[in-house]
Every structure is written in C-alpha cells, then in structure tokens.
Amino acid sequence: MAKWGMVIDLDKCTGCQACTTACSMENNTLPGENWQDVLYYHEGQYPSGQMKWLPRPCMQCENPSCVHVCPTRATYKDMDAGGIVFVDWNKCIGCKYCMIACPYGVRFYADEKPLLEPDLRAIFPGEGGQLWSPPYQNPEEDWRRGIGVQPHGVVSKCTFCYHRVSKAPPGTPDLDEDDPMLKEYVPACVRTCPPKARFFGDLDNPSSQVNRLIGDKHGVRLLDHTGNRPQVYYLGAGAGIPAFTPKTKS
C-alpha cells in the first residue's frame, strides 16, 4: 500500500486560495469550515513590509495526536488507505477532543454558529441526517471515512480526498493532475493549484516525485517538534508560521 503524501512548494504558491475553494466545493464544506486553509501574515513596515502565506491541509500525521485522544476510535489512521487519518461519522460522539489535540488546527465542528448570515444550513436544509444539503452536493459519500456532507454533532476534516485517491491505479507513484489518465484521482486542492505548488504521491516509493522534491528541495514538516510527523511536506522559504502576536490595539 502506498503512503500518501503531499508536498507544497511555498516558492511557487501565490496564496490564491484556489486549493481552499476547490476543497470546499469538492467536499461541500460550509463557509469558514476550511479543511484546506491559506493563512496570511503581514509583517514589517513600509517600505520593507512583507506578506507571507501558508496553505494548510490536514497533515495526515504519521503519529497523529488526534487519533491518540479519540475515546471512540472514530478518528483513526488507516494504513490500508495510504495512512490517511479519517473520522468515522457513524462513531464520532462530538467530544471535540481531537480538535483540542491537533496541533495544526485543521478540524472542524460544523455544528456551530454560522460564520455568515443568512445561514446556508437554513437555506439548504439537511436531508438524510446531513447538516445541510447544498444543491451542488458531491455524489460521493462514505461516512465511515468522513466523506460527504457531515451529519450533526461530528467532527470533519480533510480526507486527502480519499474518494478520488482511492480510485487511482494501485502502484501509481505520483498522482499528477497534468496526466489526463490520472487527473480524476488527484485531490481537489492539488488538481487545481494554478502555479503547481502542490504535489501528491507515494512517500513509500523512493522514486516518486514527491520524494524527489523533498530530497532535492529540502522538504520540511511543520511543527516537527510535536512529534506528529506530518505526511505533508513544505518546500521553499517561509515554511513556518510566525509566533502569534496579538493585533496592535492602537
């Protein structure tokens, strides 16, 4: 079985958020429920100001703290699915401990106040136990893996688009969206990334492009000191997030 990994080249990323919207439409997430988010940072002062950004999916950690804390094993790492960390929506009790334990802030409890009024969930009311039913809902669904529109009271997160990835021919080292034969199996965020800053492939295959990139361009994993050991690697300058500073009040 492959070990799926993602590589994000920050030297190419333009901070456009196409990955974010592609993910939210592919996975029917609500506004603000950004399984994939781009974080921005303003630093410095005119005339030498800076602006930085960092796209952030779930890291699908090799040693996932979210999994360790889940009292029901609803969150689990599936080694038979390339090491993707899933949430079983039939088991999750909505205790949110996994959200507490994830160092990367990538989990969502969508049963919360709507970010935006009017509430989309009221406009497209949920059917079949779903939190909402957008007319453009993706027909793909697998609640045991947190795929589809989530029901009430559970936690959701990036699935590495398992519903796409799982259909790839076994043994494919890299899911390259430029290959017409493979494009449908590529995670939405990777498929759409305009400057091709994102790559997806098998970390267990030494000759995969993701491994080559990690090797050639000194891939790093974020917050490696937490021991979570992400399966998402970053290349280029600016892989890291500035320490939190609260906004200047006046």
């Binding site: 029901t72 949110k96 106040k113």
Partner: protein
C-alpha cells in the same frame, strides 16, 4: 436541651429540604428554558466554535467532577483513613460527590455531539490511549463504588471489611479520575497553557479545596446555617477541624495560583504569557484572586471569625466562585490563541458563553440538587457510626 434531643428534632437528613427542592426545581426549569435553543438549533446555540471548542459546559463539568473528587476525599478522611472526627459529614459528602458528578455528567453530555452514541461507542472501541477514555472509566467506576458504598452505609456497614474496601476503591478511582482529567489537558503539548506534569497535582489540590468548600457549605446548609442542631462531634468538626483544613488548603492553592500567574506572565511563550495577561487584565481574575481566595483565606485565618458558621458559608461560596473562575480561565485559556489562523484571526479569540450554555449548566446543577434533595430525605446523611455520633 440535650444534644440527643436536638438530634431527634433535626430532620433526618438535614435541614431545609423543601428549600433545596425548590431551588432544584427552579434551576431545572430555568435550565430547560434557557437551553431550549439547543433543541431547535443544536450546538449553533453555543458560542463555542471550531476555535474555542470546549466552552462553559466543559468548564462546569470539570468544576463539578473535580468537586466530586474533592468531596470523595473529604468523606474518605473518615472512611478510608480512619480519621473518625470526619464521620459526621462522611455520608453527606459521599452523596454530594455522587450528585455533583451527575450534574457534571449532564453538563458534559449535552455538550457532546452524540451523547447516546457515547454509551456504546466508547465501550465498544476501548481506545485505551485516550486520557478521555480513562477519565470516563474512572469516574464511572467511582460513581458505581460510591453508590455501593452508600448502600452499605445505609445498612450501617460503616467499617466492615467490604465497606472499607469499597471506600478505598472509591477514593482511588475518584483520585485517578481527577488525575486523568488533569491529563486530558496536561498532556496536550500543543496547548502550552495546559501542558505540564504539574497539572494533576494542581487538579487534586484544587479538587480537595472545592470538596471542602462544598462539604462546609452543605453541612451548614443542612443545619440551618448554624451549629445549634449539630452533635457535639459535628460541631467540633465544623468549628475547629474543617475551617483549619479549609484554610490550609486554600493557602496552598493560593500559593500555587499566584505561582502560576507569575510564571505565566513571565513566560516568553505567547500561548502562555498572552493568555495569562489577558486574564489578569480582566475583572474576573480579581474576583477570583481577591474575593475568591485572599478574602476567604483571611476570614479563615482569623480564629474568631472562622468558627462562625456564616463566615464559613461565606468563605465556601467565595471559594467555589473562585475555583469556578479558575477552571474557566484554565480551560478556555488553553484555546484563546488562534491555532494556525494567521490574519483570519488577528487577535485572541473572543468567547463568552451563550445563554444556552449557561442553561445547560444550570440544568445540570438543578438535577444534581434534586438528587441531593431526594438523598437528604431518604438517606440520613448526618448518620455516622455509633461510636462517632
């Protein structure tokens, strides 16, 4: 009037059951009413979010669950450690431990996405790596032991070996529960405000403090806020031993709390220093420190004051308020720094509990009180072994 006579006069389980019942029912009514939106809107009626995921209901749960541990500790003084002076309040504390734990569970359950699913999903999946799992296991075991122990006490089995064994098991499981609850937070290295091996100690000490405060409050409440209806032993306990232990615990907690604030402020790590500063800047912090700790500490230090029931009741109420604020600060504090949000959240995350969240807590407390009131009627909570009456 002899003590015996007074004892005869006193209602069997303690004073003012009607009042307790009334308060319980009002709380339940108010709780149900304010948490109604939960039934129409679900958790959208909460002000928690994917950023502050654990809000007031969890705070209340931790407060009540740890108070349960504290109460179990107080009752164990006599029943496990053989400190006979404490027998007069042992049974009441045990029952209180049960009721506050149930109140806490209610608060927690209504905060869960799927409370009923929990009933099968946790046992069927046995995730033994999760501190949350163990916390649940220990509190559940504790609850069972406490109920068994209570049944034994009710049959006047005060110190048979099986009663003693169950008592020890209660104490051990309640303590382990508190420790694992501490680890639920303390093991989260990604939340520096929570992290640390010191947390279990802190939780145990503060649990004991809130246990003593609850015990004091309800003991006096059961005796119409006075000592006249108390037995001599009980009076001795409540005017001499308890307030001293209360003071000692409070003093310890005060030292620990101040130390925590100072290290917090001094720390360079924004997750710790900014949050500490945030709380220090809020009025609640001062309520907690001055009203919730320093004032009662002074009251309890004064030999003339601490013997007075009303002063003790006041101190208990203030301490419980202080401990509650402390729990709030701790639990919410670990979540205030936006985790990986960049300029989406340029500041600490704003969180104030919604009315519904308060409603759930009030409901839980109401149910707890109701159960307690029932107990005061049925279980002779002032009972003690014959040689300790």
């Amino acid at each position: 009037m002899s003590n015996e006579a007074v004892l005869q006069d006193a209602p069997r389980g303690g004073g003012m059951p009607i009042l307790t019942l009334l308060i319980a029912l009002i709380a339940i009514g108010l709780g149900v009413y304010t948490s109604l939106p939960l039934f129409s809107e679900g958790h959208a009626a909460f002000n928690t979010s994917s950023n502050v995921v654990w809000g007031l209901p969890v705070v209340a749960y931790v407060f009540l669950a740890l108070s349960s541990t504290g109460l179990a500790m107080v009752s164990s003084l006599a029943m496990v450690f053989g400190w006979k002076d404490f027998y007069p309040i042992a049974k009441r504390c045990l029952w209180l431990a049960v009721t506050v734990l149930i109140a806490g569970f209610i608060s927690l359950a209504l905060e869960l996405g799927h409370p009923f699913r929990m009933l099968w999903a946790i046992p069927l999946n046995l995730q033994i790596q999760s501190p949350l799992f163990w916390m649940g296991v220990w509190y559940l075991i504790a609850l069972i032991f406490m109920i068994v122990k209570l049944a034994l006490l009710h049959r006047d089995e005060w110190s048979t070996s099986r009663s003693r064994t169950v008592g020890i098991a209660t104490f051990v499981s309640e303590s382990l529960a508190a420790v694992t609850l501490a680890l639920v937070f303390g093991m989260m290295a990604m939340r520096p405000y929570w992290y640390g091996s010191f947390v279990p100690v802190y939780f145990l000490v503060t649990a004991a403090l809130s246990g003593v405060a609850f015990a004091t409050l309800f003991a006096f409440f059961a005796h119409r806020l006075g000592t006249t209806s108390m037995s001599a032993r009980m009076k001795h306990l409540m005017t001499d031993l308890m307030p001293k232990i209360f003071a000692a615990l409070l003093g310890t907690v005060l030292v620990l709390a101040v130390a925590r604030v100072i290290t917090g402020l001094w720390s360079n790590q924004p997750e710790i220093s900014l949050v500490t500063r945030h709380f220090v800047d809020s009025p609640w912090f001062h309520v907690q420190l001055w009203l919730g700790m320093v004032l009662p500490f002074i009251l309890l230090l004064m030999p003339k004051l601490r013997v007075q029931p009303l002063i003790q009741v006041l101190a208990s109420v203030l301490v419980l308020l202080g401990v509650f604020i402390g729990r709030y600060e701790y639990i919410v504090g670990g979540q205030l720094i936006p985790l990986w949000k960049g300029t989406w959240y340029p500041d600490l995350i704003a969180y104030t509990p919604s009315l519904t969240e308060w409603g759930i807590v009030i409901f839980g407390v109401g149910v707890g009180l109701l159960i307690y009131a029932v107990g005061t009627w049925m279980f002779r909570l002032d009972d003690a072994p014959a040689d300790a009456r």
